[in-house]
């Protein structure tokens, strides 16, 4: 890719500032001297429980049910993670085991 150093710096400044802005906006709108409205406190309590589900779907957004392998590797791996985690309650084991299983499945089973 042919970019000048200035162009690259400008590009990364834009992406960095844009990212920081999305993280900072709520804090800019509600600085410490302003009491947090009751509704925002309610959202703060409830949103973490909704957003993790959204993140899981976000991770799986590119699966295609109509095309082989029909998201079967993803489904198997997630079921195994759930069972493993309910059974052993060991975060590392669940994550490591699930990811390893998924890699084996898509690299050598559902090729």
């Amino acid at each position: 890719m042919n970019y000048t150093t200035t162009q690259l710096i400008l590009f990364f400044v834009i992406v960095a500032l844009g990212t920081f802005f999305t993280r900072a906006l709520p804090f800019i709108l509600f600085p410490e001297n302003i009491p947090i409205p009751r509704f925002m406190k309610y959202l703060a309590d409830i949103l973490p429980y909704t957003i993790i589900g959204l993140l899981v779907v976000y991770c799986l957004k590119d699966i295609n049910l109509t095309q082989s392998p029909h998201a079967i590797p993803e489904a198997i791996s997630i079921v195994v993670i759930i069972l493993l985690h309910i059974w052993k309650k060991n975060t590392l084991l669940s994550i490591g085991g699930g990811a390893l299983l998924y890699m084996i499945l898509i690299q050598s089973v559902f090729v």
Binding site: M1, Y3, Q7, L8, L10, F11, F12, I14, V15, A16, G18, T19, F20, F21, T22, R23, A24, L25, P26, F27, E32, I36, M40, K41, Y42, A44, D45, I46, L47, P48, Y49, T50, I51, I52, G53, L54, L55, V56, V57, Y58, L60, K61, D62, P73, E74, S77, I78, I81, I82, H85, T91, L92, S94, I95, G98, A99, Y102, M103, L105, Q107
Partner: protein, 232 residues
């Protein structure tokens, strides 16, 4: 000093799953940038100052498409809009964190947020130091991962296909923990259902913002019944 050591000790175990994910994904980013001909310096600059996993991957694609500053800005805002929810959730917890607050806000990634919103800070440990160390450790893992990727990129030859599933697994595990920690499962169901519905309606690249709107609508409409069955 003792205060900080205690906070670091309390923070570290919580960050281990993210360490696995970030070293690997960071390395994947480094490898990708290296393959596009970017030097290690640019890889480090991006990982230190942008510090947003999915956005950094998207930015490689943006660069490949040609120089378009306005397009890059709009894309950044769209891809990262979900961060608004993290800020809202951490408004209260991050009050009184003083000088470290700008850094805590800057480093509020998906993964750091997922730890910080659910981890219980042990008694006797100062919260703000716990927040700082979780954030800082995660950031360091990401930087180290991307540097390793940039250096080793062309040298190693293992099949890493599917390795990004580490993060899917991390979020699934957090979801199970959340599910088991409360009797009110409605918020979790709202999140998943809104996301799936909007993914089907709007497609893979445009569903995040509609999902956020849908979630906000649902939790606003259901505020009364939700508060009766207190989540926390």
């Amino acid at each position: 000093m003792n205060n900080k050591t205690a906070a670091l000790k309390a923070a570290f175990p919580h960050t281990i799953p993210v360490m696995t994910g970030y070293l690997v994904l960071g390395a994947a980013y480094g490898i990708l940038m290296d393959s596009k001909g970017f030097s290690l310096l640019w890889i480090i600059i991006a990982s230190v100052f942008v510090y947003a996993g999915s956005m950094q991957f998207v930015s490689v694609a943006l660069l490949a498409a040609g120089f378009d500053p306005l397009g890059a800005l709009l894309m950044t805002l769209a891809v990262n809009a979900r961060h608004l929810f993290y800020g809202i959730s951490m408004l209260h917890q991050y009050r009184g964190t003083g000088r470290m607050k700008p850094y805590l806000i800057f480093s509020l990634t998906d993964e750091s947020f997922s730890i910080l919103c659910s981890a219980k800070v042990p008694e006797g440990v100062k919260e703000k130091w716990f927040y700082l160390f979780v954030s800082l450790l995660d950031h360091i893992y990401w930087i180290i991962g991307s540097i390793l990727g940039g250096i080793l990129g062309s040298l190693i030859n293992i099949n890493t296909k599917g390795i990004d599933f580490v993060l899917t697994a991390l979020f699934v595990v957090i979801l199970i923990n959340q599910w088991q920690s409360t009797k009110n499962h409605l918020p979790v169901i709202i999140g998943i259902a809104s996301a799936i519905l909007c993914r089907l309606l709007f497609g893979a690249s445009d569903f995040i913002i509609p999902s956020m709107v849908c979630i906000l609508l649902c939790v606003t409409i259901l505020k009364k019944p939700m508060e009766r069955g207190k989540v926390r």
